[in-house]
């Protein structure tokens, strides 16, 4: 009789070409039947050398690169960059620009969390969620388009303010969306929150304790899902956040279900923030008044020699930034998104380092996945809400 061969575990390649692997995630999974024994996330398939490219671009030209990092929360990433450049310059945007930036940062948070909800739903099998959330994303994209011309990669925030003021009637459109949106969130919750299957799939899956979350460097909703009420918007308020009242939702158990609830509540809080911004906003300039740093007014360009020169220099040579280094982080939809800039003077940064939020979350997948079933892998991937643009940079 033949000797029985030793049983071997099954290794499968989960991605990068896989319907549920977000972006180009490649996970090597060692399976014992349906149970994951070992998970090995691979990164780097979307590396575009953003940090190096930024060294060769002026500070203004750097803005669009940030749209393309986490391409699901575009303006939030720009926000970090422009705030960091402003800090290097030692300037502050005018109040109206600050409110506009907060409004759009929050609209972007809604965009990102809507994608999270849809994709997470799809991963777990609730495909209708995807269509529902994309219906609302479409509305926000229309707002994007109206305010800056682009639907996704906006390049709307600028060091010292924003590109343009709201067009006529834009604030009313945002208000109409915000008034209507909570009812849409209720709609999503009817489909998912108390759904038995949804709960069976999410509750106690991928539990991360408070200590683990801190050890692994979790940020944003992942950290708050584990019960740590930390939010950079409250801890180190930037722009207009200091004047705005909102709550930080936290989870109890640190499982996927809590993270889902936290994100849904953040959608509601974002509505609250935008509502307050619209109320507090007053007419005024939306760009820094030092025209060596921002684009001079159109009529000045036509009438004044100096303004025309400044306009030309702004877009060709760029503005001078004093020597120094700065680290600045904002609360992007996925968590703390930071940028570290070293400037040696001149109009281009000497070195830029980006601290993405998803990087830390992905490394935890290796610890979270073993022992779970193959089906839970998709739950976890959906739950940690990763986008490879920012992880690979």
């Amino acid at each position: 009789m033949e000797e029985p061969k030793e049983f071997q575990n099954y290794t499968i390649n989960f991605g990068p070409q896989h319907p549920a692997a977000h972006g180009v995630l490649r996970l090597l999974l060692e399976l014992d039947g349906e149970v994951v024994e070992r998970a090995d996330p691979h990164i780097g398939l979307l590396h575009r050398g953003t940090e190096k490219l930024l060294e060769h671009k002026t500070y203004l030209q750097g803005v669009p690169y940030f749209d393309r990092l986490d391409y699901m929360s575009m303006m939030s990433e720009e926000h970090t960059w422009v705030l960091a450049v402003e800090k290097l310059l030692g300037i502050e945007a005018p109040p109206r620009a600050q409110y506009i930036r907060v409004i759009y940062a929050e609209l972007t948070r809604i965009l990102n969390h809507l994608l999270f909800l849809g994709a997470h739903g799809l991963d777990v099998g609730a495909m209708t969620m995807f269509i529902y959330t994309f219906r609302e994303r479409e509305v926000v994209f229309d707002l994007y388009e109206e305010v800056c011309g682009a639907r996704m990669h906006a390049a709307y925030f600028r060091p010292g303010g924003v590109g343009k003021d709201f067009p006529e009637g834009h604030a009313e459109k945002i208000r109409a969306f915000i008034d209507d949106f909570p009812s849409k969130i209720d709609e999503y919750e009817v489909l998912l929150t108390n759904n038995r299957i949804w709960k069976q799939r999410l509750v106690d899956v991928g539990v991360v304790s408070e200590a683990q979350a801190l050890d692994w460097g979790f940020v944003g909703p992942m950290l708050r899902g584990s019960g740590v009420a930390f939010d950079l918007r409250k801890a180190e308020p930037y722009d207009a956040y200091a004047k705005i009242d909102f709550d930080i939702p936290v989870g109890k158990n640190g499982d996927s279900y809590d993270r889902y609830l936290v994100r849904v509540e953040e959608l509601r809080q974002s509505c609250r923030i935008i509502q307050q911004c619209l109320e507090q906003m007053e007419p005024g300039p939306v760009k820094h008044e030092n025209f060596k740093l921002s684009v001079p007014k159109q009529e000045d360009q036509e009438n004044k020699m100096e303004s025309l020169i400044l306009h030309f220099k702004h877009f060709s040579q760029g503005f001078e930034v004093p020597e120094g280094e700065v680290y600045l982080a904002t609360e992007s939809p996925k968590g703390e998104f930071g940028v570290y800039i070293v400037s040696k003077g001149g109009s281009k940064p000497y070195r830029v380092k980006i601290r993405p939020a998803g990087y830390n979350h992905l490394q935890a997948a290796k610890e979270m996945l073993p022992g779970l079933m193959l089906t839970d892998v998709t739950t976890i991937i959906g739950s940690i809400d990763i986008v490879f643009g920012e992880i690979d940079r």
């Binding site: 319907p19 349906e34 799809l122 269509i131 299957i197 069976q200 799939r201 089906t375």
Partner: protein, 346 residues
């Protein structure tokens, strides 16, 4: 209906015997009957794909397919044309004979069972007295096709999918079979015509409502439909056992799946919802075939409705539901039905 049949049938028979001779005519007549039965079935199977996209589209606030013909009515034809003309890609290490036998083995049982499904007391191809047993026996063959597909494709996703599917189909066959036993006990016959006729006073769904619910959930699981579509859970297994199939070979799998849906919907309508019987005597002017269509159509609609609403179960949760919840409950109902029959007879 029956009067018309009785007048027309002898004419057809004499004509056929003249044409083909007495020896050949029974064979030709059988083939003709099979075609007459399968043509509408395949028509429903093709159009349920369109209905699925349209209904789910409406639930998801989008129009659904509307390019091919008005309201997309030509879409199934376009799909078929596309699938037939596409290249069939065969994996390098596939086990060829098994690879191509598998889709056939999935579709064939789904079509064979129609032989005993009655559409009215007279309209049945083979009125055999073990009709229900025949259905259960043949439909469980479908698991082999799935298992073979997963094995022959020589792909890990397909293999995992087929393992899941086979265990799921077997588990839920059990609970589905057990939910049908009380119906048989009430009727005292395995013949489907008798089962329906026995419901002329009260439909089986009234005394056996929990069983009907279990039956329906079990057949959803048995046909691998959402929320129990783990074998082809695209989120983790790409397309499960169909992953390596392309063109018409994958189309045949889908036809088998939809044929099964139609079949279990008709079976549910016959076993629990009174088949072709109208809900109240007053409505008996509407032909029985229409009633059967409405009832089965409603069950098919629920299939699609579930798909648009629910997330997917996890493998272990599905097994737990089947073995630890449905099996004990249906066994208990068998016992209860037996007790009731005994008490009422005494």
């Amino acid at each position: 209906m029956s009067e018309i049949l009785q007048t027309i049938l002898p004419i057809i028979h004499t004509f056929g015997e003249d044409l083909f001779g007495t020896l050949l005519w029974p064979l030709v007549w059988t083939v003709a009957k099979v075609v007459m039965l399968l043509a509408p079935v395949l028509f429903i199977v093709t159009y349920i794909t369109l209905a699925e996209r349209k209904i789910i589209g409406a639930m998801q606030v989008r129009p659904g397919p509307n390019r091919a013909g008005i309201f997309g009515v030509l879409l199934p034809l376009a799909d078929a044309l596309k699938l037939i003309t596409k290249e069939t890609i065969i994996p390098k290490h596939a086990d060829l004979p098994v690879f191509f036998l598998a889709p056939t083995l999935t579709l064939a049982p789904a079509l064979v069972v129609w032989a005993v499904v009655p559409f009215s007391p007279e309209l049945v191809l083979a009125d055999i007295n073990i009709g229900l047993l025949f259905i259960l026996a043949i439909s469980s063959l479908g698991a082999y096709g799935v298992l073979m597909a997963g094995w022959a494709s020589n792909s890990r996703y397909a293999f995992l999918g087929s393992m899941r599917s086979a265990s799921q189909m077997i588990s839920y066959e059990v609970s589905m079979g057990f939910t049908l036993i009380p119906v048989v006990m009430l009727t005292g016959s395995l013949n489907l015509v008798d089962v329906v006729e026995a419901q002329s006073d009260v439909w089986n769904i009234v005394p056996l409502l929990p069983l009907f619910v279990i039956y329906f959930i079990s057949v959803v699981a048995e046909t691998n439909r959402a929320p129990f579509d783990l074998p082809e859970a695209e989120a983790e297994l790409v397309a499960g056992f169909i992953t390596e199939y392309s063109a018409m070979s994958s189309g045949v799998f889908f036809m088998g799946e939809y044929a099964n849906i139609v079949m279990v919907s008709f079976l549910g309508a016959l076993m629990f919802l009174g088949g072709w019987l109208p809900p109240i005597g007053l409505l008996s002017f509407i032909p029985g075939l229409v009633w059967l269509g409405i009832k089965a159509g409603f069950l098919m609609f629920v299939f699609l409705w579930l798909r648009a609403t629910f997330p997917r179960y996890r493998y272990d949760q599905l097994m737990r539901l089947g073995w630890k919840v449905f099996l004990p409950v249906s066994l208990f109902w068998i016992f209860l039905t037996g007790l009731m029959i005994h008490l009422f007879k005494a």
